[in-house]
Amino acid sequence: MLLLLDILTTAAILFVVSVGLLAIFGVLKIINFAHGAWLTIGAYCAVVSVRLGLNPWAGLPIAFVVGALLGGVAELFIIRPLYRRPLDAILATWGLGIVIGQLITLAFGRDVQLIPNLMSSTVRVLSVDYSVYRLFMLFAALAIGALFALTIEGTRLGLSARAVIMNETLARSLGIDTDRVRLTTFMIGAGLAALAGVLLTPLTSVDPNMGVAWLIGAFMLVMVADTSYLALAAACLIFSGAQVLVSTFVSPVLGGISIAVLAALVLRINPRGFSRA
């Protein structure tokens, strides 16, 4: 039972962290290696809002807005020039991540920031005491996933984004402003990353480099999911299952690399990952 809850909540956390990266990868066809830095930005938004005396939950919308605005700037000046050079885009975003990390360090210092948890305490679930917050993450993942799905399937922007994902040239020849679609998508993806950063604060220590560890996992999951958010959900479930099982029964250290290794193998067998299924 405990295992099952761990798997589900880990999957939820991974999904929340990765969904922003998926949106960007699908529409812009690049890997945003600054994703970890945006997680960190979000977490520090939470730090700032607590310092300003606001309700800790206020950190969520603040982080989303800040993340989106900064994402817009990044897309215009860094991503756009590298449209035809995807490997260089990985490097440039990685550099951007370094720059952001150092700026945060200069502003806030290197130390771990302590902020009050959004929720503490445990609750009894079917004879097991489990963290309320982790269960909340399940809800958050479903909510975010549902909102994301709604946007993609129901709104005009979502339709344009899907068109750009499928065939950008055709979308352009129909008069769709693909530059604007890419910019908007990047901003949403960045906003989601920052949002995820806030949600991570009770689960991990907040310091300028907290995002890097999550970047790799998110990156591998997105590569396996290709452009489908449903495939991302499936990948999160399967891979978190592997991670939890390996951590519990073999070694926690090896559990940490199970996602990366599994993803690499899956991609070797089928370069489009799970999205085919």
Binding site: I31, I78, P81, L82, R85, P86, L87, D88, I90, L91, A92, W94, G95, L96, I98, V99, G101, Q102, L103, T105, L106, V212, I216, F219, M220, M223, S251, V253, L254, G256, I257, A260, V261, A263, A264, L267, R268, P271
Partner: protein, 598 residues
């Protein structure tokens, strides 16, 4: 005739000795500096620079992989760390007698090479993407780091290994050793990239498909390079373990791997010297500034990195070479080999079936592109395949040259089925393919492209550049008729469209293939150029016994030179026969005026 060849050439080839003068002098000079420096530098500087020089050696390996071969890798750190850990673990657990030290050295080189083989096999396969190779190069150091963390006492876990016996050298000794290794590796790399074999790296980066169609498997080149450079990185790890006396998981991690890439990018990828100097400068400065302004420095580096990637992809070395070219107005003097005629081995069995296609079909999902194609080609035939757009012509050519295409039916070249054979293996059966858009190597010169085309007949040297470029008669014909013979030393990027087509044709002919597949060879050519190509093709089949399959839209051209015409329409072969019969047939008229529905 050899006399002809001598007449053709009008530029003398340089001798090898003069080519080596400058780099030899530079290497000796650098070695001298390395030798003297420890007497001048303080202990701190000497310590840091020893490490920096080892890192610079690593940077050279990253530049060879990324700058020259186009493989963006974060994994060299893991090979380095594997070598370092192999050394330290041997010394710690097994002993530090000279015998064990020697064993550690061997292990430090072999273990990373074995890992390199695994990584190479995972990353490079027919159809792999550069992104996937980079992904693997990212995952690999993470795995290695985690393995180190979980190694307990054996690997020292997060504390690392320290206190093992090292080589009996003092600070000066290690400085000189590291420095000389750095100079030696850089020199070796420099010699290699200038040699004929070294051009393979650039070829794989520029156009790996063309490599395959010249009979060279790009995957093998990538894997071999990975394994070799993993060994070099392991050796650097061995040095590092001894010179620093302490190793930790950070030495194997992907963060260190990204550091290397950043240094290479700032120095200038593909310039060898740039990455070396950048590594030395940045690592030294980082250590010196450690006390004062660490974050600002990282910030500056990060910003510089982003700016360089976007605006100056060639890094500071690129900037320097552009500046020096402006100042000294020096042009890149590449050695120009002399063209000679190769001994021709055209063992052509007359009338044996060269190509046999039975029941070939190819579909994409539910869309059927080719259906029930049956075809036989013999030496001496010039067969043109015509048909409206979308008839499946290029797909047919692809199925005839790439056995890994998922087609149904049987395709046999000289009696051997090509199913599952990658293009380089099909080329080995005697097939040459020329693409619709000239598929050549944009970063190389004409001579270098032609020499690469001869790789399977004459193994290129890994040290120098052969002064003679021997080509078969047909290739030389093309070069002469199109005037390319005067442009042998020219960079390909400066050639006109027609010249590029001619070069590609010359390269394909240099393979001396029995069956040549040409996809729209006259696209974009002037009338004169088309006449030239037509004459050559006719000569090749009529007199030299080649077989040619030609996909064309220019129906006048087809009519003039073909011995046979095959008409493809909506994926089916509707006509196959002598030129006059096909040209005058009703079916063809209907198809071309848009009325035909088969």
């Amino acid at each position: 005739m050899p006399e002809d060849a001598a007449l053709l050439d009008n530029r003398p080839g340089w001798t090898i000795a003069s080519e080596w003068r400058v780099p030899a002098a530079a290497a000796v000079g650098a070695a001298l500096i390395v030798w003297i420096a420890p007497l001048v530098l303080g202990a701190f500087a000497a310590n840091v620079l020893t490490r920096s020089m080892i890192y610079a050696t690593l940077a050279v390996t990253v530049d060879l992989l990324w700058g020259f071969t186009g493989i963006l890798t974060f994994g060299q750190a893991a090979f380095f760390g594997a070598g370092a850990y192999a050394t330290a673990m041997t010394m710690t657990s097994l002993g530090s007698t000279p015998a064990w030290m020697a064993a550690a050295l061997v292990l430090a080189i072999i273990l990373p090479m074995v890992l390199g083989l695994v990584v190479g096999w995972l990353s490079f396969y027919h159809g792999s993407t550069p992104l996937y190779a980079s992904v693997i190069s990212l995952v690999f150091p993470i795995v290695v780091t985690q393995l180190v963390y979980s190694g307990g006492l054996l690997t020292g876990s997060s504390s690392g290994l320290v206190g093992y016996d090292t080589l009996p050298l003092d600070l000066e000794g290690f400085f000189r050793l590291s420095g000389l290794v750095m100079v030696a590796v850089t020199l070796a790399a420099w010699i290699f990239v200038r040699s004929d074999a070294g051009k393979l790296l650039v070829a794989v980066r520029d156009n790996d498909i063309r490599c395959a169609y010249l009979g060279v498997s790009p995957r093998r080149v990538q894997i071999m390079l990975t394994v070799a450079l993993a060994g070099v990185a392991g050796f650097a790890g061995f040095l590092f373990a001894h010179a620093s006396g302490v190793i930790a998981p950070e030495n194997t991690g992907f963060l260190f791997g990204t550091q290397l890439v950043i240094w290479v990018a700032l120095g200038g990828r593909g310039s060898l010297l740039g990455p070396v100097l950048a590594t030395l400068a940045i690592d030294y400065l980082s250590a010196s500034l450690s006390g004062d302004l660490p974050f600002l420095w990282q910030l500056v580096l990060g910003t510089a990195f982003v700016i360089i990637i976007i605006f100056l992809p060639d890094g500071l070395a690129g900037l320097a070479s552009r500046a020096s070219a402006a100042i000294f107005r020096s042009s890149k003097q590449t050695r120009v080999p002399r063209v000679a005629l190769a001994a021709s081995h055209s063992a052509v069995e007359t009338s044996a079936t060269l190509l046999k296609v039975t029941g070939l079909a190819r579909s994409f999902g539910s869309l059927s592109v080719l259906e029930n194609i049956n075809l036989e080609i013999h030496p001496g035939e010039l067969v043109s395949i015509v048909g409206p757009n979308g008839a499946g012509k290029t797909t047919l050519i692809r199925c005839l040259s790439d056995g890994s295409e998922p087609f149904k039916g049987v395709v046999e070249i000289a009696g051997k089925p090509i199913k599952a054979l990658t293009p380089d293996r099909v080329v080995a059966l005697g097939v040459g393919r020329k693409f619709q858009v000239a598929s050549i190597f944009e970063s190389l010169t004409v001579a270098e492209c032609l020499r690469l085309a001869r790789t399977t007949s004459e193994t290129p040297s890994g040290i120098g550049s052969a002064p003679l470029l021997s080509l078969p008669t047909a290739s030389v014909e093309i070069l002469r008729l199109t005037g390319l013979i005067d442009l042998i030393g020219f960079p390909v990027g400066l050639l006109s469209h027609g010249m590029k087509q001619a070069l590609e044709l010359a390269m394909v002919l240099a393979l001396e293939p029995r069956l040549i597949l040409l996809d729209e060879p006259t696209a974009g050519l002037t009338k004169a150029e088309r006449a030239t190509i037509g004459a050559v093709l006719r000569h090749l089949t009529a007199e030299a016994g080649y077989a040619i399959i030609l996909v064309e839209h220019d129906l006048d051209f087809v009519r003039e030179i073909s011995s046979r015409i095959v008409v493809l329409h909506q994926g089916r072969l509707v006509l196959d026969g002598a030129v006059e019969d096909v040209v005058n047939s009703e079916t063809v008229r209907t198809i071309y005026s848009g009325g035909g529905h088969v």
